[in-house]
Amino acid sequence: MDFKNLNLKKLIEIYVVANTADYLYRHYKSDTSIIQLAQSNDTTTLSSYISHSINPEISSIDLVYIYAVLIALSHKPANEVIPAMQKIDLAGLRWGKKLWSICKANFTSNLIVTIDLPQSLGKIETPIIQWDTSNIVVQKVIV
């Protein structure tokens, strides 16, 4: 994988003072070089990098690269990333499982359902169900 555009210096700075996985996620998620990493690599390439890189003897730099790739995956579509990541054991990676759970919780749905209905149906009640982690809303329509 090509990391030449990754802002490694900034990512290391963040890693060195991170006390929690949430801190690392917040700062890496908004990093433009991680967004570029996501744009220039497909989901398979990114997830394969993680699965081949996890081992107990990885250095601090290796850890920064893995975290960058893991959070780059959060910029990819959930329907691609979730099946790919289910095959990877993150238990041996410090903050691996925690970061992945934060990524999953922050995926937004790309699902659009179109239903043909008469133009004037009536009043739409407040949402019956709404998930914080997606933009899916279930509503009841009173005719």
Partner: protein
Amino acid sequence: MRKSIVNPHWSHLDLETTKGNQISNYQDSQVIDKNIENGCRDIYKNRYPAMVERTTSPTSIYNCHGMVFGSRRTQIDESTSVRKILEDDGYKKVSPENVMAGDVIIYIVNGDIEHSGIVVHPPIPENFNQAIIISKWGPFTEVLHPVHQSPYDSTTIEYYRIDK
């Protein structure tokens, strides 16, 4: 101490609150690379000129929450664990004007307690009304710093004191 079965560099302590609730924690025996340590030291000293390193060698054995709540023996990295300790151990919130040396400070962002430390000097005019904190910065070193001069978001801070 229990050795981790997934990574030989990790181990866990049996850590409980005073009410007997388990606190998840781990020690990591790996340290950050020397070139990273030196590079980051230069960057942060340049960015926060008032910072003073209290310890000279980085360690991943403990982090900020482990320094404040785990006697520098382990890392505590879940906000829920920190909240459980504050509750179970009888910490009471202290208003900024009543802060004293020895009080605990926590930095909160969207519910995540991203940092904690111990007050060394309360916020007095001589310190430009900024408390001086000692805290551990991730796997880096322990640092003395003014409350608003660190890599952590100090927009929402809270002070606590054990008062039983």
